[in-house]
């Protein structure tokens, strides 16, 4: 029997992988993918809890998160393309002009 604890454990693992990926990877595309991973970890947790409580709130929020993530990816990738065109690099460390 798969208990909610399993789902939560999986969600935590996915979230940590995503968070570590955001912190250590330089490639903007990969960072993006890691962000998606974190969002989906959250979705998994929402859905698991919704299922556990027998309520629909968590499921609905999961849909909202997906929509926001899709919109974010559209804007983010557009920015990324623009940066890549300008500097021939997709590394987030190269885009460090906004500083002291």
């Amino acid at each position: 029997m798969v208990s909610p604890a399993h789902f939560i454990a999986l969600a935590v693992i996915l979230f940590v992988i995503g968070a570590v990926g955001v912190l250590v990877r330089r490639n903007a595309i990969v960072v993006f993918m890691c962000v998606e991973l974190m969002l989906n970890a959250c979705n998994l947790a929402f859905v698991a809890f919704a299922r556990m409580h027998g309520a629909l709130d968590g499921q609905v929020i999961a849909f909202f998160v997906m929509v926001v993530a899709a919109a974010e990816v559209v804007v983010g990738l557009a920015i990324l393309t623009a940066i890549f065109r300008a500097r021939r690099s997709a590394s987030v460390d190269d885009a460090n002009l906004m500083k002291y």
Binding site: A19, L23, V31, V92, D93, N96, M98, K99
Partner: protein, 647 residues
Amino acid sequence: MTGSVHAALVPHAAAIASLHATGIQDAAGLLLAFPLLGAAILLLGGKRTNSWGHLVGVAMPVLAFAYGLAAFVQMLGYPAAQRSRELILYQFINVGRFQIPMGLRLDQLSICFVLLITGVGSLIHIFAVGYMSHDPERRRFFGYMNLFLAAMLLLVLANNYLGLYAGWEGVGLASYLLIGFWQYKPAAAVAAKKAFIANRVGDAGLSLAIMLMFAQFGSVTFTGVFGAVHSASHGIVLAIGLLLLLGACGKSAQVPLQSWLLDAMEGPTPVSALIHAATMVTAGVYLIVRSAPIFDLSPGARLAVAIVGAVTLLWGAIIGCAKDDVKKALAGSTMSQIGYMMLAAGLGPAGYVFAIAHLLAHGFFKAGLFLGAGSVKHEMNDEVDMRRFGGLAIAMPITFVTFTLAYLAIIGVPPFSGFFTKDPIIDAAFAHGGTSGALLGTAALLGAGITAFYMTRVMLMTFFGERRWDENVHPHEAPPIMTAPMIVLAIGSVGAGGFLILANRLLNFLGPVTGVPPVLRGIWTPVGGASLGLVVVGAAIAWVLYGRREVPVTAPAGNLVTVAARKDLYGDAINEGLLMRPGQWLTRLSVYFDNRGVDGLVNTVAAAFGGSSGRMRKVQTGFVRSYALSMLVGAVLLVGTFLLVRL
């Protein structure tokens, strides 16, 4: 509009509310309007009025004088007790309970001043037409002179202290403008500033006195203040008296505010004659005499006035002995003569009338002396050093004769003016009684001798002896427009004193305002004899030193007193040491404290914030991943805290 009479309530005659002015006197505003209009035309009209401006400038004082005469004649028609008349021009200040109507008071005292100011003023204006004929700025000069007359008339005519103060400030302004009339001369510009600042000190005293009056009595009108002053405490009356004295010291160049008058001689000579001899500098005496009901109640304040007068009369006389600049010698003399008036005013009702009598007589002979000096200066190519004069009696006979008559008047030779007006002051000082009376009288008596010395010295150095002129100087008599006023003033110098004093004319006339001396002495008194003896001695010494010997063109080194007197008895040095240097130290200290203390604190705080934020700025590296890390750490910390708190 009608003045109410409550004579029964107040003991002093001057506190009686005046009757309303009628007839010609109802238009007394014209006295102010004429010179004010003249000033407005000349100063606002600009260069367009250059060609005829001086005519307007002369016409206005003459018109004011004619009006003053008419008002005087009307006043003589009233019985003595009803001669004080008031009229309201407009509401000066109208704030709730604080009501000050701008009114004029025409009484025996103010009409004396009106006639002196407009009469002598007219003569000096006429003289100035000739004296200033070569000056391209003659129109501006007459504009300022008219402005002065308007302010001076307001000073003596106002029926309240605030109006008097407005006139007081007005004459200060006119004096400043006229001393610095040749403002391209640095000495004149500096002298003007000095006069203004010294006067400000006195003005502060006067304004404080007025504030104190308002705080204590709720009124600043003469009627209101003099009616209420009896109920005030001794301390308050003394304070008001001393503050008024401070004001008088500033305007009348009395010790300790005397230093500005000698430098004020940088102005054109008609200015010296009108403002710094005949009228403005006597305003202090007017203030004291006008405030008689206040001083009558405070023997302490009166004594202070008398002491200031006695000190100044010697101070000015000693300075006058050493000056080689003819105008400065006369300025020292002015200071000294006003000292006599202050001394007389400080004696209370025993001296008020004599102070005014000497003031009026002095107006004639000192204006005459200054116009004579101006006439000489005009012909000597603006030379004022008496050591470069000599032998002018033949070259300028009319100037010589008028100057001589004024000279005889000032040293007090009978039957000229000074004899009649100065000796009663000396006599009244001795009659004051006690040690103070003896000291004041001795000072006044000594002053008479010194006066004779320095005036004889001026006469001998200017008109007698060898000609010590420059080669390119060719003095001849001044044109009639300059000599005519001098002749009129000389007649006044001869007759004014005798006319005022004999038959007690001025005494009877002014009595209702100033009170009558308790003891009336004759003309020939032992004191008068002593004074005459000292005059002869003083004149003889001057003749020995300056008449019998040749006068060296360059001044000899001189003894200790001469050196001190040449430096105005170190008046400037005292001011510098006592006031200016400590003031500078104070400002330097303040600046230091401001820079280091106040600014230091503010700057340190600002620098601390600047420095720390400069360091904190380095956190903004621009690396997205480090921001992400800080967000993550922050989120974890927050969540951790919540969990901890909940547990």
